[in-house]
């Protein structure tokens, strides 16, 4: 395996890894913006 090569050979697993990473990334962004929106809402009431 060269340094530039993906360690995952199986296409289905690569898809699972990509989807998992995207899902967790979206979750992190949701927490980030969620708390800001929560406080914007809080500051209007």
């Amino acid at each position: 395996m060269s340094a530039a090569e993906n360690p995952i050979k199986d296409a289905a697993m690569r898809r699972r890894v990509r989807n998992g990473a995207l899902g967790l990334g979206c979750l992190a962004l949701a927490f980030y913006f969620g708390f800001i929106v929560l406080l914007v809402h809080h500051s209007h009431h």
């Binding site: 340094a3 995952i8 699972r16 890894v17 998992g20 708390f35």
Partner: protein, 532 residues
């Protein structure tokens, strides 16, 4: 497993041409989990010494009453920057480094699932910390309002404020990417047959820690973004004059801050759960209950943040809830301490450096836990709040807790990384000096706090002089002792007695790292091993 192991070694011999890149490119464009792990660990060690130097400034100023070395504003900049460097630059990257090195090897994966993102998560950090440390050089100096960044105090900072906010965002992005990598690696790349309950405790502790990171780092990022808009864009999230609520910041900060404490200790729990069975020559007592205990602690960490804010004033029901919920954490923690003790019970113990650090962890982390229980009691907290008792408490959790955990891990796996045994005498000297002086440094701070000495001050009343002198002497000696740690590591990397693949006589092969030769080959498990 043995067959898989030997075929794996043969496989590596076939690929002996596949060597790391030469020179700076190996590190700049690193995608190999071992190289990235090494970079994280070296970075963390550098930050440990930079943060330690700041602690020395603090202890030198506090050696006797009166102002002698630094002015009060610079003193406050030191306390703030020391905390940020140690938390985000030393402890967290050290655990990420250990995760990078060990998780793929423990679960039988060829590398982390997302190697390029792994490279990016590391290389953000030097920029983030250059920015953070350069705040000391801007007009007005670094942020001096404490690592908690409470408004309105933090909003009075000068040019350093946006630099710090940007640095925190970068650290957060790095941590989140690292956490995503850990989760997808563990969930997708375990060797066939390694179900979750067969997974080593270190990998388990990191899986749970990674979820904590994803849940709370964005909350910190959101809170500091709102501080930034309050400072520069005239919003009033936390500005009472504009209808905002500064206490709301404290709620949000500690919603991040309390799980952050567990982010810094859960991986250490994992390491201790690996080390104690090896040097007790017994399997870990109650391994499954250890996993449930870590998960319970992680869950409870989300519902106890109010105990940092008792003195702000809150309804009695809220005080009771936070007090009880905090005390509840002692139950799963007690399960862990009981299981570690039961693991050693009637074991054939030997006291190599990793075991010494693990046993010290067990005793000294428990002291930090007990003082935490004292602080959870609302009326007592009114007395202890903002005193050196709090400083003693969290340093017991973080130094002989998290940092001794890291040192136990480094001494445990170093022969696997370098292929050499290290100088046991020097490593034991490092342990004894660290264990003695960490107590000389922090134990007197309990007395100072109970006697009423406030934290975050450069000067104090004369009755606090003696214990402050003792504490400072302990601090200088503890700091100097860490030079031995560097000497042991450098010597071990350069050569020494050859390590076997098992390294330690009592190793229980729960993790697959012990099936690999020492040093572990540059590319391990290119063919997945089969677990029976």
């Amino acid at each position: 497993m043995a067959n898989a192991h030997s075929s794996d070694i043969a496989h590596h011999d076939d690929h002996s041409h596949d060597q790391p890149a030469k020179g700076i490119k190996r590190w700049l464009f690193a995608t190999n989990h071992k190289d990235i792990g090494t970079m994280y660990l070296v970075f963390s060690l550098i930050m440990f010494f930079i943060g330690g130097a700041m602690a020395m400034v603090i202890r030198a100023e506090l050696f006797q009453p009166g102002l002698q070395l630094v002015d009060p504003v610079f003193f406050n900049q030191m306390t703030t920057t020391h905390a940020l460097v140690m938390i985000f630059g030393a402890v967290m990257p050290a655990f990420v480094g250990l995760a990078n090195w060990m998780i793929p090897m423990q679960i039988g994966a060829p590398d982390m699932a997302l190697p390029r993102m792994n490279n990016f998560s590391f290389w953000i950090l030097p920029f983030a910390f250059t920015l953070l440390l350069s705040t000391l050089l801007v007009p007005g100096g670094a942020v001096a309002g404490g690592w908690t960044l409470y408004p309105p105090l933090s909003l009075q900072s000068g040019d350093s404020f946006p630099m710090l906010i940007f640095a925190i965002h970068m650290m957060g992005i790095s941590s989140i990417m690292g956490a995503i990598n850990v989760i997808v690696t563990i969930m997708n790349m375990r060797a066939p047959g390694m179900n979750l309950l067969k997974m080593p405790l270190f990998a388990w502790s990191w899986l749970i820690t990674a979820y904590l990171l994803i849940a709370v780092m964005p909350v910190l990022a959101g809170a500091v973004t709102m501080l930034l808009t309050d400072h520069f864009f005239k919003t009033s999230f936390f500005n009472a004059a504009g209808g905002g609520d500064p206490v709301m910041f404290e709620h949000i900060f500690w919603f991040f801050g309390h799980p952050e404490v567990y982010i810094m200790i859960l991986p250490a729990f994992g390491i201790i759960s690996e080390v104690l069975p090896t040097f007790s020559r017994k399997p870990l007592f109650g391994a499954t209950s250890m996993i449930y205990a870590i998960a319970s602690i992680a869950f409870l960490s989300f519902i106890v943040w109010g105990h940092h804010m008792f003195a702000d004033g809150m309804p009695l029901a809220a005080q009771l809830f936070y007090m009880m919920a905090t005390m509840l954490i002692a139950v799963p923690t007690g399960v862990k301490v009981f299981n570690w003790t039961a693991t050693m019970w009637r074991g054939s113990l030997s006291f190599e450096p990793p075991m010494l650090f693990a046993i010290a962890f067990l005793f000294l982390f428990s002291i930090g836990g007990f003082s935490g229980l004292m602080l959870a009691i609302v009326p007592a907290d009114f007395q202890y709040n903002q005193t050196y008792f709090v400083v003693a408490h969290f340093h017991y959790v973080l130094v002989p807790g998290a940092i001794f955990g890291i040192m136990a891990g480094v001494y445990y796996w170093l022969p696997k990384w370098t292929g050499h045994m290290y100088n046991m005498t020097l490593a034991k000297a490092h342990f004894w000096l660290s264990a003695i002086f960490v107590n000389v440094l922090f134990f007197p701070q309990h007395f100072l706090g109970l006697a009423g000495m406030p934290r975050r001050i450069p000067d104090y009343a004369v009755q606090f002089t003696d214990w402050n002198m003792v504490s400072s002497i302990g601090g200088f000696a503890f700091g100097l002792s860490q030079i031995l740690f560097v000497i042991v590591i450098v010597q071990c990397a350069r050569g020494g007695q050859k390590a076997t693949s098992q390294v330690w006589e009592g190793t229980h092969p729960t993790g697959l790292e012990w099936t690999l030769p020492s040093p572990a080959p540059y590319h391990s498990f290119t063919t997945a091993p089969e677990i029976p």
